[in-house]
């Protein structure tokens, strides 16, 4: 095979290991070699377990039973997601060396499917905004985005074909956009979060990273416990081009690229119309801030009371200060407002199969101190709809920018099919 195994998608690896044209050990070794060559630059990993991954790969090669849908597929898990045989440090010095007692549900389900956990990827502090050490693999002077920084960077850099992250605000879609990979934030509530550190439970979801939309569909099937089936072909979608009320936060070059994208999709046969969100949606970012800050601040009561000095100033004066200033009544009011927005958005989706929106303001910003602007994700995270970003655009510095696609709640598979249609139309 002329392609390096580390370049393959998860679906390609599983097909090759199941038919015997590649061993699991070969694939894992190729990923570990890629990591060894690049980790000093990218710094995607909080904890690497190369030897254990190789042992596991050899055991998979030697096993004679039925082979799972991710047989021999290496993956990484954000370090707020537990694995029984690795530390969980949550991006904080407070939890250095902590050993959880079990695999998170998502890790166990991937392992059950034959996947090989290579290590834990870097997260920002408690999946909030204070950055970890990871750099953007496409330009190490730029942020990879966050909070699932290491997962996005590792997949982008061909270290692993799949990685697990989470999203409470913009923590999957934004780093996927900045690093040039496919990112997926599921319908809220679909994928189990047992064993994942809670940031703000009413908004938290898993987030998946891959280099193809088919891999995302495959991984989701594994995580819902279904027999994977290929994505169906879809007809030409009814697309709502949704600039959102935050449009002027997008860089002019991003605005032009997205306008061009909308035109290109119309030329490819899609129905493309401007979708305007209700005016009340302009209040979503404030409501999101109230809900996430309130929940986050109660969830981290132990760290606040026992390790205040080991919490970053960014977090103390940001999310925690906001949360301490938010009363339960304000929280509940904001939560109810977001619940009402979900129903309103259902109505918007009566006219569209999919919404097309910015994934980020532009290319990954220069500098490692900030993980970038979150607004273009907050709207959709708050409304619990599934989101996918595909790396379809190229910014002024030659770096990727994602196109974000949204579907109504519970239409995740349909969203994948439309995203694949969009990707093909833009090629």
């Amino acid at each position: 095979m002329s392609t390096l195994p580390s370049e393959l998608t998860a679906g390609e690896i599983a097909a090759a290991t199941r038919c015997g044209s590649l061993t699991c050990e070969t694939v894992t070794r190729a990923c570990l070699e890629r990591i060894q060559a690049r980790e000093a630059t990218v710094q995607a990993w909080q904890h690497l377990a190369g030897e254990r991954a190789l042992e596991r790969a050899r055991a998979l090669d030697a096993a004679t039973g039925p082979r799972g849908p991710l047989h021999g597929v290496p993956f990484g898990a954000k370090d707020i997601i537990d694995a029984a045989d690795m530390p969980s440090e949550y991006g904080s010095p407070i939890h250095r060396g902590h050993r959880p007692g079990r695999d998170a549900a998502c890790v166990a389900l991937m392992r059950r499917a034959g996947a090989v956990l290579v290590g834990k990827t870097v997260t920002t502090e408690f999946a909030n905004v204070h950055p970890g050490k990871t750099r953007n693999p496409l330009d190490p002077e730029r942020t990879p985005g966050g909070s699932s920084s290491g997962s996005a960077a590792a997949v982008a850099d061909r270290m692993v074909p799949l990685a697990l992250g989470t999203q409470t605000t913009a923590s999957t879609i934004r780093p996927a956009s900045f690093c040039g990979v496919v990112g997926y934030r599921p319908t809220w509530g679909d994928l189990r979060l047992s064993g994942v550190l809670e940031a703000a439970g009413s908004l938290d979801t898993l987030g998946l990273f891959a280099r193809s939309i088919d891999d995302i569909a495959l991984l989701r099937d594994v995580l819902i416990g279904a027999e994977p089936k290929p994505l169906a072909e879809t007809g030409k979608p009814r697309i709502g081009f949704c600039r959102t009320h935050l449009w002027d936060k997008a860089e002019p070059s991003t605005q032009r690229l997205l306008e061009d994208t909308a035109c290109a999709l119309a030329q490819a046969g899609a129905s493309v119309k401007d979708a305007v969100l209700p005016a009340a949606f302009a209040r979503i970012p404030d409501a999101h801030r109230a809900v996430s800050s309130y929940e986050f601040t109660r969830n981290f009561a132990w760290e606040i009371d026992h390790h205040w000095d080991a919490i970053s100033e960014t977090l103390r004066s940001g999310r925690l200060a906001q949360g301490m200033a938010t009363s339960f009544e304000q929280y509940r009011e904001a939560r109810e407002f977001l619940a009402a927005c979900r129903l309103t958005l259902d109505q918007v989706f009566e006219s569209y199969d999919v919404l097309l929106a910015p994934a980020a303001a532009g290319e990954a910003p220069v500098g490692l101190g900030s993980t970038g602007y979150t607004g273009f994700c907050t709207l959709w995270t708050s409304t619990h709809v599934p989101a996918v970003t595909v790396p379809a655009l190229q910014g002024p510095n030659g770096l990727p920018i994602g196109v974000q696609l949204l579907a109504r709640r519970d239409h995740d598979r349909e969203l994948f099919a439309f995203a694949r249609w969009v990707q093909r139309a833009l090629r």
Copy 2:
């Protein structure tokens, strides 16, 4: 003071320790003495930390800063709720000796308020139905109910005035009814679950145990991070007497007691009318089973794959077999059905301030092999409404039976006020 400190409510203890008429050490010692005298019979505790509790009580006595609303109040936490300084064993031999890295949010918030964690209380296996060692303190031949068995028994037996549990089906209201204490299951989503082992996240809540409704209100204020304020007096409530479609599952004596209760409340001045639930609600128990089994089975993928032999036959052939047989599509359909029932129930509550319903089929059954019938809680757990049970009835064997009261979502404090009105009216 003539009353033993272990007999006092949390509110009474906090008032006494804050004004100095009792020391925290005296209170904690009284609770520990009660535990020592009774634990061989009741077996409420999975892990006791008496020395550490006394140290903490002495530190509270010595502290000069502001005193919290639970200053010196001893409490227990169900052993699926983490504390940084104690093991979390989840009612399973698989996790014997496991040490979590931090306090659950609820434990940290109680400690912040000055409460003293005495130990971890017995849970059924993974908060499902396979019982632990706890016995009903009112009759050791009878079940205390589950899954928060130790928390209910410890509060009933005057070992601690407050305890934390959880509810996914009937795990707070049922044991509170069987043991004769006040139990509270909050509006779903209000109280943070970080650091609590997930059973089925779309149904899980904390559950609170106390010996007075005012203590429940106080503890809830602490857990939402609000300054506690006394419950307001309420007018005579509009009560819907809701026998539910499961009425014939209640023992005849329970039926008679509840009919008498409805009459007594009407005589006390309440408006009491028969409340009939929509016929579709008869499908709730099946939908609850699908949702909880699906989520539970994915959450415990690691235990299933690595420790199958250490899982009870009850759990394997019950919840897990059901969950493995439930597809994602069936799960999602059941989840949507329950979401629709929540909206329907909002309409029912337009006519009533509070619904009056059975908390359990009758007194705690004889035998320790089963934790009892769950149906009378499933309806309300599934609809996310707040529930309180007050020990207002006495069954044919002289044992308590709870009266369950329900209010619409987000009306938890109003529910407390009505529950206190009901308790007073029945005295």
